[in-house]
């Protein structure tokens, strides 16, 4: 079974009844997986069992020896060496290409392997530095596209006039071309004639700006040169043989980025240091991802030195070189045995208990009891209208001729809706049952209360039930002579395509719309103007949510859907429903990237643009994780050079206890920014005047 698994199309399998292997499900599942090349999901469908069950069948099949996996000797050797190198040098990852690679030159094989693995090392928004040399050029040429966006590629050093094809300029431009990155050159020689010349060049704004990019590098791709007489370092223009003759480099075992290191990886000081234009070794150590690509027996001492010096987080090399490094480090080859992973414990075939514990009394009392508690907690902000818990107004002085702002919807979004009434926000809020629109009567009582003779704005998320109930209330209000206009929020861009924006649902972006409308009304602007600004605010908001666990309703106490241990939901709303797609679980940074990429596709924020940001918990995700998400978000925004005017982070608009988060970006102009800056006083959003 050394062959790669081949996918068999459904067509080629249809037309014959599937073999059943005497109804042995382990054998049958193994056959479909290893021989027919189906995915575990497809097997689950085929056998009518759940995906976790397929997984445990396959684990059992391996444990019972039904499936024996054999790996070709050379490949196994490579993996074994890679594991040993990772363990010995504390590498994050190590890729070792097998020793026998056919007729292709080693440098090309290394370049191709590195290019292939780049997908897992490059992330959107990265600033990537690349050095020079044959291997770097092979790598840069072998790259064909990447999923990462907003990349910047910068030369790790200045240029050279040497007549070699693999100059710093060539390597960096090629990589930039092949990844679609913005290219930043270093417009100066790698080695200048004197330290005075360097000082002068550093004062050149263009060069200073280019070198400043090196401080932002998040990923560096570098090669290393040996000190052998025929090594490229001698012909590249990076070296001054006059200094060599003075014995400066007698202890050097290798060079990278024009700097020399000894066998322990320590930098060798020399007069050259003040003449090199490029990344310094101390800076190299601080780069989060440091990928050394090098192979060949002459490279064993320099690679070993770089490993010892802590310059490498990922090593890409070949089996012979890797073995040489391990031997040089004192390993006996025969002691390098493959590390056995512990057998995967078989997963429980089905899901855990669905029941979720909650701080509630009787489920049917949950909403009213929560509102009672909220009114007691924030008496300076909210009070009931006419004794109703479900129609609540701001505790603020009424002003004649002010446009009234009424918001509302179902419960379950706390502090959603009720936290956003107050001075400079909404005047009244209507509360329904959990995730269900309030009925028209109490919308009407809020409307009457909010009306000060200038008309009322209804602002709520675009949901069928809310629209029906608020529309009925608007009709009833009109009959009483109150003009009520409706703003439907539609910020959730995952919920429908860009061509049907009006069909989208409203989620966390709601609160920016409430704020803008509330501020406009507080400025005593007329109804037309308040409506225009609220619509403008809604159009400027872009939200996407992602969930790791479903939520559970107080009434049922059960998870509203089930989600496998390795799955997550992308594009979720705020009503506990599944998202637009189910995807494999990912790290925080990758989730942010996915959200931001999708938002940028539509929003296209320009350089120097101004944004308001909301990193919102859907209920079950703690602040700590929101901060982690925000960290990556800020990296992505700064890679786009957009200015973050306001950041809100926390529980703003939730989906009961859903474990998940949403990110809202709001594009600001001066008008919207000014309205966001106005003071407001809701219990979930308090802001002092500037």
């Amino acid at each position: 079974m050394g062959q790669p698994r081949k996918r068999v199309s459904k067509e080629s399998r249809s037309g014959r009844a599937p073999l059943r292997f005497g109804d042995d499900p382990l054998l049958w599942a193994s056959w479909l997986y290893y021989q027919e090349g189906l995915t575990q999901g497809e097997i689950a469908d085929e056998l009518g069992i759940s995906r976790p069950t397929v997984n445990s069948y396959l684990a059992d099949a391996r444990a019972k020896g039904i499936v024996n996996i054999s790996i070709s000797e050379a490949r196994l050797r490579a993996v074994t060496i890679a594991q040993a190198l990772e363990a010995q040098f504390g590498l994050e990852s190590c890729l070792v290409v097998p020793g026998e690679g056919g007729p292709r030159p080693l440098i090309d094989r290394l370049g191709a392997a590195a290019a292939q693995s780049l997908g897992s090392h490059l992330h959107s928004g990265d600033t990537v530095a690349i050095t020079w040399g044959r291997t770097m050029l092979a790598l840069a040429e072998a790259v064909s596209g990447t999923e990462a966006r907003d990349l910047v590629v910068v030369q790790a050093t200045g240029g050279t006039t040497a007549t070699i094809p693999y100059t710093p300029e060539a390597c960096a431009t090629r990589l930039a071309e092949n990844t679609g990155a913005r290219f930043v050159p270093i417009s100066a020689p790698a080695i200048v004639s004197s330290s005075e010349a360097r000082e002068i060049l550093l004062r050149e704004p263009v060069i200073a700006e280019q070198l400043a990019q090196l401080d932002r590098v998040t990923c560096v791709l570098f090669g290393i040169s040996s000190m052998r007489p025929d090594a490229t370092i001698h012909t590249s223009g990076f070296f001054d043989s006059a200094l060599k003759n003075k014995g400066y480099f007698d202890n050097a075992v290798g060079a990278m980025m024009g700097r020399f290191i000894d066998a322990q990886g320590a930098a060798i000081p020399s007069p050259l240091d003040d003449r090199v234009m490029g990344m310094e070794l101390d800076r190299l150590r601080q780069v989060p991802r440091r990928i050394l690509v090098a192979g060949g027996l002459d490279k064993v001492p320099p690679i070993l030195a770089a490993l010892r010096g802590g310059f490498v987080s990922t090593l890409i090399t070949d089996a012979t070189t890797g073995e040489g490094i391990l031997r040089a480090e004192g390993f006996e080859p025969e002691k390098i045995a493959p590390k056995r992973r512990a057998p995967t414990p078989s997963e429980p075939a089905l899901t855990r208990s669905d029941h979720v514990k909650k701080f509630i009394n009787r489920p049917k009392d949950a909403v009213d009891e929560a509102l009672t508690g909220a009114l007691a907690a924030f008496p300076e902000h909210i009070e009931p209208i006419g004794g109703s818990l479900r129609a609540i107004r701001a505790r603020a002085d009424k002003r004649d001729g002010k446009v009234g702002v009424v918001i509302g919807g179902g419960a379950g979004h706390e502090p959603g809706f009720i936290g956003f009434v107050g001075r400079g926000l909404a005047d009244a809020v209507v509360v329904g049952n959990v995730f269900a629109s309030p009925p028209p009567d109490r919308i009407l009582s809020c409307t009457r209360d909010a009306d000060q003779g200038a008309g009322v704005l209804y602002i709520y998320g675009n949901y069928t039930g809310d629209v029906m109930n608020f529309d009925m209330a608007a009709d009833m209000a009109a009959a009483e002579g109150i003009e009520a206009r409706t703003i439907l929020t539609t910020d959730d861009i995952a919920s429908a395509g860009a061509d049907e924006r009006a069909a989208r649902r409203g989620t966390a972006g709601n609160i920016f719309v409430f704020k803008v409308a509330g501020a406009a009304a507080a400025r005593m602007l007329p109804l037309d103007e308040c409506e225009r600004l609220a619509r403008k605010a809604n159009a400027a908001c872009y939200t996407i949510g992602a969930a790791l666990e479903p939520s559970s309703m107080p009434d049922t106490g059960r998870r509203s859907f089930s989600l496998g241990p390795d799955d997550m939901e992308f594009g979720v709303g705020v009503h506990g429903e599944p998202g637009v797609s189910r995807i494999p679980l990912q790290s925080a940074d990758r989730i942010v990237d996915r959200i931001v990429d999708r938002i940028f596709d539509e929003m296209r924020p320009g350089e120097g643009g101004k944004l308001a940001v909301l990193v919102n918990s859907l209920g079950g995700t703690p602040m700590m994780e929101l901060f982690i998400l925000n960290r990556r978000l800020m990296q992505r925004l700064s890679a786009r050079s957009v200015d973050v005017h306001t950041t809100l982070l926390g529980h703003y608009f939730t989906s009961l206890d859903m474990v998940g988060a949403s990110i809202t970006l709001m594009a600001l102009d001066e008008e919207l920014a000014g309205l966001l800056d106005d003071p407001c006083n809701g219990f979930a959003w308090m802001k002092q005047g500037r």
């Binding site: 049917k364 179902g410 329904g432 049952n433 959990v434 995730f435 269900a436 629109s437 309030p438 009925p439 028209p440 009567d441 949901y463 069928t464 039930g465 029906m468 109930n469 009925m472 959730d492 919920s495 429908a496 069909a503 649902r505 309703m553 009434d555 049922t556 059960r558 509203s560 859907f561 709303g573 009503h575 506990g576 429903e577 599944p578 637009v580 797609s581």
Partner: protein
């Protein structure tokens, strides 16, 4: 006997409410697959409250109005207005009628259907309660037009509602919250169509029992 007295038929709504309350968990479970899982809970809340307040010995007209009022003013959501409108228009259609025969019943459910169509924006095929309700009303009329008895037409209505309900499995939701899921909404029953088929089924059974 091909008609029932309006007076005393209020108990039909008690029976409808009992069916909804009994199926609270089931309806929520269906709803949870593509919605927020509260359909059963909200429906049971509304129908249960109405059952407490209505007079089973009173007229069907009065009972329908009580049910409508509770749904309209206390339940909210999308089902509150939709079913609220449906039962209100049914009550208006029946009015002061002394007895209910096939023609009056047919007119009543037709009025209920039009009430739902007025307030909602859905069409047949959008994966909503209309996919059960519309064919059921049509089947009732067609059965009567073909010369069948009132009980036979009720059987046809109930069967058509159930077929219609099951047809929602293969539909992609076009309106309501589940429409945001696109293709993912395919493969499960629509909760509204399911509760609608239950309501019509309960009507059919109770009236049939009263007719015999």
């Amino acid at each position: 006997m091909q008609e029932i007295n309006n007076k005393g038929a209020g108990g039909i709504i008690s029976g409808v409410a009992a069916v909804i309350v009994d199926n609270k968990a089931y309806l929520s479970e269906i709803d949870g697959k593509i919605g927020d899982g509260d359909h059963g809970v909200n429906m049971a809340k509304g129908f249960g409250r109405a059952a407490d307040r209505l007079d089973p010995e009173g007229t069907l007209t009065e009972a329908l109005q009580v049910l409508s009022d509770v749904l309209m003013s206390e339940i909210g959501g999308s089902m509150g207005p939709l079913y609220g409108m449906m039962f209100s228009d049914m009550a208006d259609s029946l009015g002061e009628a002394e007895t209910i025969d096939a023609a009056k019943f047919g007119a009543m459910i037709r009025a209920g259907l039009e009430g739902v169509q007025d307030i909602g924006s859905a069409k047949v095929g959008d994966k909503t309660l209309l996919d059960a309700f519309t064919p059921a009303v049509d089947a009732f009329d067609a059965s009567i037009a073909a010369g069948n008895t009132f009980p036979e037409a009720l059987v046809a209505m109930k069967a058509a509602a159930e077929t219609g309900r099951d047809s929602t499995i293969d539909m992609v939701a076009k309106v309501g919250r589940s429409s945001r899921l696109g293709e993912r909404s395919r493969g499960v029953l629509d909760a509204g169509a399911t509760s609608c088929a239950m309501i019509l089924g309960a009507f059919a059974e109770d009236i049939t029992a009263r007719l015999s």
